[in-house]
Symmetry: C2
Subunit: 212 residues, 2 copies
């Protein structure tokens, strides 16, 4: 397809597509004349991913370039390619080292040990996901709300089930590249869906128990 | 306790406490002299909630005042008091009315019908949680990623289980007021914990399947 059709089908303006091409986050089309290039389904898919990262997950274009370099690096295994976005995202400010953070580390470690999350324990705070969890638990503790391994355990099992489901869905995609792209998109874009579902579930369950 | 102790135990500066008192989001202490007042555990709990809403959930102080008015209004039933924060939060920009939003509405309605979420269907888009979910699904659809009732169903059941667990935890608090306060705090503050857990679960499951 030509640039105009790529724009129509993706809903991304031709100016933005040209910007992505210049920035190297979208691979060039196949030259057919001096001024025209031909794009394919792979470009369309990549364009959707770039737009998702930039517009929805608010990832800077320079970071998108890094993420895509990992996504496309077939010398890496799928774990690293799929996790590329999470590792490249800005991790937020360094958490304050205080008693709450120390307690949060202890409870997260107890949780991971109990549920046998061996890899998470091994990777530890090198992982941005691990740091995000520990930081969020520390915030609750700092505010005086209880949040220990016992309270977290049922949630950990639920999200693990969700992760199994999510990766089953992702493995349905036919090629490794498509699986990796889907994992990157799904990890970030599904978060608002889950939060919306949770708020609605809390509402449903509250009305169920206490009436309207 | 005096102001200084309230500040020590809450970790909130005396200047901020005085500001909250002036703004009416913290009830005045019991006057013991012309210049001194006495505060109790209820003040401490309320101060923690205010700080959670303002500092973590980024709720404007004027909105906190509205939320607390609902929390304290014993003529309302617990459903409304517990949901006060969600209904008072800014809902973000109005979603664009397009085919994706129409499709998202259809799929969310199919999901709620199938899983028998009768109240959520009845309240519909009046509920900010419902609008948030529909908007998030529309975003995925607009980007060309699949997101229909079939894909959402297992997640809906998981978050429903989480809501049951969450409300069980909340009902452990001894008074209605404490339950309502805990529900408000928990609804908002637990979101980053869940997202952290989910990212870590995805990482664990990815390493499990594809190695390190």
């Amino acid at each position: 397809m030509r640039l105009a059709e790529l724009s129509d089908r993706s809903g991304v303006s031709t100016a933005t597509i040209k910007y992505y091409l210049r920035e190297g986050v979208l691979p060039p089309g196949r030259r057919i004349t001096a001024t025209q290039a031909e794009y394919d389904e792979e470009h369309l898919r990549r364009l959707r991913l770039v737009r998702a990262l930039v517009q929805i997950a608010r990832v800077p274009v320079a970071t998108v370039r890094e993420v895509l370099a990992s996504v496309d690096d077939t010398s890496l295994n799928r774990t690293f390619r799929m996790g590329a976005a999470l590792w490249a995202l800005p991790g937020g400010p360094e958490p304050e080292e205080d008693d709450a953070l120390a307690a949060a580390r202890r409870e997260v470690d107890r949780l991971l040990e109990r549920d046998g999350w061996a890899h998470a324990r091994e990777i530890g705070e090198l992982s941005p996901a691990h740091r995000a969890l520990t930081g969020a638990v520390a915030t609750l503790l700092r505010l005086g709300y209880p949040c220990d391994a016992d309270l977290l355990a049922p949630y950990a099992r639920q999200v693990r089930q969700m992760a199994v489901q999510g990766l089953d869905d992702i493995e349905e995609f036919p090629t490794h590249l498509e699986q990796v792209e889907a994992a990157v998109a799904y990890t970030l874009l599904f978060e608002p869906v889950l939060l919306g579902l949770r708020r609605l579930a809390l509402e449903e369950e509250t009305v169920e128990r206490f009436g309207l």
